[in-house]
Chain length 345, copies 2
C-alpha cells in the first residue's frame, strides 16, 4: 500500500494532485449540497471555469448530479467519498501521523483529518464528523456526556446524526457560559446534541468567568448543586482547546492580566484551565463544572481542536496526560510533531 503510493507519486505526481483536487471538490459538495459551481469556486479558491470542468467530469462519472438548485452527490458519490477519504489519508501519510502522535503523546486514540482548519473552514466540520463518529461508538446506555463550548465542539454537535429512536443518555454542559454568541455556548451545544440523539439534557445557567465568592454562594442553590454533581459524574467529556492568550481575552481579562498569564507560561486552555508547554497547570478558573481532578473518573476525555495556529495549545493541554482521545487536523498534527522534534534537540 505504502509502496504503491510512493510509486505513483514518483511516476505520475500530477495525477495525485488531480485526485486530491477532485476529492476536495467532492468533500465540499458533500458538506454543502446542493451547491452551485460559483459558490464552490469561491470557497475552493479556484477559478469558476476549472471547477466547472471538474464538475462536468464528476457528473460524467456518475458521482454528482445536478438539478436546478445546484449539484449534489449521487449514491455512488456518497459511497466513493468514504473510500477516497481513506485513500487521501494514505496519500498524505496521515495514518502514520496518527500512530506517531498516539505513541509520542501517550494517548489512547488519535484521529487526524486531512487539511488545515486555519485555511479551510470545512476541515473543522470534518473534525466534528470524526469526533461525532467516535462519540457514537463509545457512547453506551446511561452515559453522561459533558461538552464544552467553542466553534469546534459546535461542529461536533452539527455532525451528530439525527436519530429516529431515543438514546438513553444525558448531555450536559461541562462548564458555564462564556462570551456572547449563543451558538457556541456549552449549553446550546449540549442541547443540540441531546435533541439530535433524542436524549435528555440539563443546563448550567452560570457564567464561566465568575468571582470565587460568587461560586460559593451559587453552589448553595440546590438546583445548581445537583446539576454540578451530575456533570462531575460524566463518563464522556468532549472539549475544545484554545490558545491561552485568545481565551484570556475572550474571558474579558484586562490586557495586564493576559500579559501576566502568558508570562507565567500559559499556552493552551481547556475547560477553564490554563496549561504550560509541559502540561503543568498555570491557572485554574474556579467556576462550576468539570475540573482537572474529575478527569480521572471520566472514561473518555476527547479533545477536539485543529489548525496550525493551535498546535502549541494542543500540545500543552495533552501533555497533562489526562486526555484519552485527540481529534485534530493535518495542519496541527504536523506542527505538533515538528514542535516535539524541535523541543527534544
Amino acid at each position: 500500500m505504502r509502496d504503491i503510493i510512493t510509486l505513483q507519486q514518483k511516476i505520475a505526481p500530477e495525477l495525485i494532485e488531480l485526485l486530491e483536487r477532485r476529492y476536495t471538490i467532492l468533500r465540499h459538495v458533500s458538506h454543502s449540497q446542493p451547491v452551485g459551481r460559483r459558490s464552490l469556486a469561491n470557497s475552493l479558491k479556484l477559478g469558476e471555469r476549472i471547477v466547472r470542468t471538474e464538475l462536468d467530469f464528476l457528473k460524467e462519472q456518475g458521482l454528482l448530479e445536478s438539478n436546478m438548485s445546484g449539484v449534489k452527490l449521487t449514491a455512488e458519490g456518497e459511497y466513493l467519498i468514504h473510500q477516497l477519504s481513506d485513500f487521501v489519508k494514505h496519500l498524505r501519510g496521515i495514518h502514520e501521523m496518527e500512530t506517531r502522535l498516539r505513541e509520542r503523546l501517550g494517548l489512547g486514540h488519535v484521529v487526524v483529518v486531512p487539511g488545515n482548519s486555519d485555511e479551510d473552514e470545512l476541515v473543522k466540520k470534518e473534525m466534528g464528523r470524526a469526533a461525532a463518529r467516535y462519540l457514537l461508538e463509545v457512547m453506551r446506555g446511561g452515559s453522561i456526556i459533558a461538552v464544552t463550548g467553542g466553534t469546534t465542539v459546535g461542529e461536533v454537535a452539527n455532525a451528530v446524526p439525527v436519530s429516529h429512536y431515543p438514546h438513553n443518555v444525558l448531555v450536559v454542559p461541562a462548564r458555564g457560559g462564556l462570551g456572547e454568541e449563543v451558538e457556541i455556548q456549552a449549553n446550546t451545544i449540549a442541547a443540540k446534541i441531546a435533541k439530535k440523539l433524542m436524549a435528555s439534557y440539563r443546563l448550567l445557567h452560570v457564567p464561566d468567568n465568575i468571582a470565587e465568592d460568587a461560586v460559593k454562594s451559587l453552589s448553595k442553590d440546590p438546583h445548581i448543586r445537583e446539576i454540578t454533581r451530575t456533570i462531575k459524574s460524566a463518563d464522556i467529556l468532549i472539549h475544545g482547546i484554545g490558545n491561552a492568550q485568545e481565551l484570556s481575552v475572550s474571558r474579558g481579562d484586562s490586557p495586564e492580566e493576559t500579559r501576566q498569564l502568558i508570562r507565567a507560561g500559559a499556552v493552551g486552555e481547556a475547560f477553564g484551565h490554563y496549561f504550560a508547554r509541559d502540561g503543568t497547570i498555570v491557572k485554574t478558573i474556579h467556576s462550576l463544572g468539570v475540573r482537572l481532578s474529575d478527569l480521572k473518573h471520566i472514561n473518555h476525555v476527547i479533545g477536539v481542536a485543529g489548525g496550525r495556529r493551535k498546535a502549541g495549545a494542543i500540545l500543552a493541554v495533552v501533555s497533562n496526560r489526562h486526555e484519552t482521545v485527540l481529534v485534530t487536523d493535518e495542519g496541527a498534527g504536523r506542527a505538533i510533531l515538528e514542535q516535539m522534534d524541535g523541543g527534544e534537540r
Copy 2:
C-alpha cells in the same frame, strides 16, 4: 488493492493511461538502453516530441539519465520498473487472469506478461525474462535442462542473466535442428544458456525433419545414442509452441501434406508433436530427442508462447495435460479464455 484501483479508475481515469504510457517507455528503455528518443518514438509509435516530454519528465524524476549515446535507466528507475510491472499487472487484472488460466487449464503455474507479442516485439522479450526467472528458480544442482528452438525460446536464452560462478547443470537441445536461422536453433539456444550460466552443454547434430529409417540408422551411432539418453533424462524442459500450419510449412512439408494435417485437426505444435484442439495427438515427427511419453518423467515442463495469433495453438498443446508451467502474454491469455468460454456453450 483491487478497490483502490477501481477507485482511481473512477476518480482519475487519465491516471492509468499516463501511467501505462510511462511504464511502456521505461520498459522500452530498459530493453534497449542506451537508446535515443527518435528510435524510441519510432518503436512506440508516438510523436517524437511527446516522447521527449516524457523523457524529460522521467529524467526530472531521477528515473532516467542521458549521456551522449542515449538515455538509460538509473538504479532507481531499474528498481521502480519492477514494482511498476507488478502494478500494471494489477491494473489490467492480469493476476486474476493468471489464476483463472491456471485453474481452467489445470496447470501448476501460469505467468502472463502484459501486452501482445503480435503487436509489440518487446513483449516476447518480457516473456523470455519471465521464463528465465522461473528457470533460475526451479533449477537445481545436477539439473538437465532441455530446450527447443524458436524465437520465443531464443528470448529466454537472451534473458538468462550471465553468471559469474559456474552452475552445475547441463543444457541440451530437446530436439534436432529445424530451418535455416542459426540463432533460433535448439543447439544454439542450449549453448547460449549454458555459456551464460557457466554450465556445460551437449549438441544434437540431427535434423528434426528426418525420414524414419534414417532415425533408426542414426540411433546406432554411440555418440547420438548417449546424447539422446541424456535428453530423455532431463528434469526441466523449456519449449515453444507453434501454429500447426506455420510449423508444417517451415518443416518443408508440401502444401498437400500441410492441408491434410490441418484437415486432421492439427492446431498446435510442440517438440515435434501436432495437437488437436482437445489436446489429442494428430501426428508425431519421429525424430530423435524428447517425445511426449518422456514428459511424465520431467518435473518442469515449461511452455513459452504468446500473441493472440497463437492462442489456439497454445490451448491445443496445454490441453494434453502434460504441461506444468505456461508462460504467455496478455493477448494470448485473453484469447484463450475467450475460446474456452466460447467452446463451452
